[in-house]
């Protein structure tokens, strides 16, 4: 039995390593084949080149798609974070009937098939006579970003010590002053983290953009269009690698900030409790 107990963690950690490999392996092939000279992705590589990357800025459709994606991503992340702040603050600070139901409804897009969410929104927008554009894409992205924003923000808001705000008000600070000098510094990391998470989701989101956009393409839609042409694959892989890098950097910053936010509210709350 003791032998088994010693054997088990060893077995488990090798399984964990294999699993991480399985998670990362497919992703790693994108950068590898994006510097291959041949257009077909196979081993051994026929040579190393950066010219697929050099071609990227020379493609006007890609430049347009990039601007569209940035515009949609920034608008969607700001809107969903504002709505997320309101909801997360309400959920963590107040008790009222129906709180759980409302929370469940707001989180629902997380577990619904995206195609169904997308076509339902499409139907309503067409019925309302909204013409499909980047604006409708933003509306859709906000809906799917709010649950993630809520998750990040509630973990930042929980354990937030209200007595600090009380103390500030008692010491004569105005409501706005309290917000600016006490509340904001404590929740700022969580808010920035939520903005980054939402931006990343919007940047990578395909299905909803695919259904709700008019003629303007976002980056994933541009990629989808290129996938039909085998010869364009290395360019897509190069673009994908850049997107991968962008997501990775953004998410690392978001994670560091989220942890700092959680630590800050907990420590300072604990100190004064």
């Amino acid at each position: 039995m003791t032998a088994m107990r010693r054997f088990l963690p060893g077995w488990l950690s090798s399984y964990a390593t294999l699993y991480i490999l399985f998670l990362y392996l497919p992703v790693i092939f994108l950068p590898i084949f994006s510097i291959n000279t041949a257009a077909t992705p196979k081993f051994p590589l026929s040579g190393i080149t950066l010219h697929w990357y050099e071609d990227l800025p020379k493609t006007p459709a890609l430049i347009d798609a990039t601007w569209n994606s940035l515009l949609v991503g920034i608008s969607a992340s700001i809107l969903s974070t504002v709505l997320g702040i309101l909801a997360a603050r309400s959920i963590t600070r107040y008790r009222y009937p129906g709180r759980r139901t409302i929370n469940g409804l707001i989180m629902a897009p997380l577990v619904l098939p995206e195609v169904i969410v997308a076509i339902s929104m499409l139907l309503v927008m067409l019925q309302l006579g909204l013409s499909l554009s980047l604006f409708t894409v933003v509306l859709g992205h906000v809906l799917v970003c709010i649950p993630y924003s809520m998750t990040v923000l509630t973990s930042g808001f929980e354990g937030f010590d209200r007595s600090l705000e009380e103390a500030s008000a008692d010491l004569g600070e105005s409501a706005f002053g309290t917000f600016r000098r006490v509340t904001l510094p404590m929740v700022a990391p969580a808010i920035i983290s939520s903005l980054l998470v939402c931006f990343t989701i919007s940047l990578d989101e395909f299905i909803i953009a695919f259904f709700l956009t008019g003629t303007e393409a976002t980056l994933p839609i541009y990629i989808w269009g290129q996938l039909r042409f085998a010869a364009k694959l290395p360019g897509v892989l190069a673009l994908g690698t850049l997107l991968l890098l962008a997501s990775f950097v953004l998410m690392t910053i978001a994670e560091i900030l989220r942890r700092r936010a959680a630590r800050r509210t907990q420590n300072e709350g604990g100190l004064h409790a």
Partner: protein
């Protein structure tokens, strides 16, 4: 902003249960959440109601005939093409959720029980691939499984096969592999959370009372982590049944799923009511399957004790 500063400490609140203060507390909380709530009502609840309404109507070339009919549901449930797609989608999503949960459980267990100081690093490592574009992850599986792909050239290089196999890509197995990879993180996190909640002293007690590691795992840890297993299974099962990108990119003819048919009704075929009926049918059937899964897991949980 004023709301943020007007906070009252929880102690005073507890004493004032039946006070008007509670009223104002509820009103404030509700007022604060209402913009987000209204947003979800307009862009989620209303659209779903509109889809349900459409599913009882008929497409009349460019206009919609609003007389009530069940014809769309008859087509969705009895036409062989839709019935087959529905069955295949259910089969794929069930297989994927079982596989993902089975593969994810040991990882979640390892991180929770043997992660030590590196718990959050492990979790971060696992979430990173999830944050990369879904489209790109599916695409990389296409690169791996393709005729000239990594797997074929690797197997040929090792001398295991003499010519590339075309059995790897464009079938439902390729869809299952890709989806299992894509949803891994979603399964690990809920299981990890529920394992974290397992009281370690109970496991110790079982060991002290003579249960070996395997028995104490099967009789204590596993049943106590059932809620995490349930949410992991549901989080994977419900969205994957309606996946569009994966079957389209790696599924070929043999791997088409119901979402592709739904999309076609809103695109080329332009039959919104039928598309709506297919969506509603899919949601209802996957909910039933999800409910059944919950019951099965709960029954197993009771058996284990």
């Amino acid at each position: 902003m004023t709301v943020a500063a007007e906070g009252s400490p929880p102690l005073r609140m507890a004493g004032a249960r039946r006070n008007p203060l509670l009223q104002s507390e509820a009103v404030q909380g509700f007022a604060l959440i209402s913009p987000t709530f209204v947003y979800a009502l307009i862009l989620l609840v209303l659209p779903i109601l509109v889809v349900i309404a459409h599913s009882f109507w008929t497409q009349n070339y460019l206009t919609i005939d609003h007389t009530f009919t069940l014809e769309n549901y008859r087509i969705a449930l009895t036409e062989p093409i839709y019935r087959d797609l529905l069955w295949r989608s259910l089969y794929i999503s069930l297989t994927v959720s079982l596989l993902t949960v089975a593969l994810a459980y040991p990882i979640a267990y390892f991180i929770s029980f043997h992660g030590g100081r590196h718990k959050s690093l492990w979790l971060f490592l696992i979430t990173i691939p999830f944050w990369t574009s879904y489209l790109l992850r599916v695409m990389s599986w296409k690169v791996i499984l393709g005729y000239n792909g990594v797997l074929n050239s690797g197997l040929m290089g090792l001398g295991i096969i003499s010519e590339p196999s075309d059995a790897l890509l464009y079938n439902s197995t390729a869809v299952i592999i890709t989806l299992t990879h894509a949803w891994a993180t979603f399964a690990i996190l809920p299981i990890f959370v529920s394992l974290e909640k397992v009281d370690r002293t109970l496991v110790e007690a079982a060991t002290d009372l003579g249960d070996g590691p395997l028995r104490s795992f099967l009789r204590v840890t596993l049943p106590l982590s059932a809620p995490g297993v349930i949410s992991a299974a549901l989080i994977v099962m419900i969205p994957t049944v309606g996946d569009y990108v994966t079957p389209k990119l790696v599924g070929g003819k043999d791997g088409v799923m119901i979402a592709n048919a739904i999309q076609a009704q809103f695109g080329k075929a332009s039959n919104w009511p039928l598309g709506a009926a297919l969506s509603v049918t899919t949601m209802i059937i996957v909910s039933l399957m999800a409910g059944a899964t919950v019951l099965v897991i709960r029954a197993l949980q009771r058996l284990a004790r």
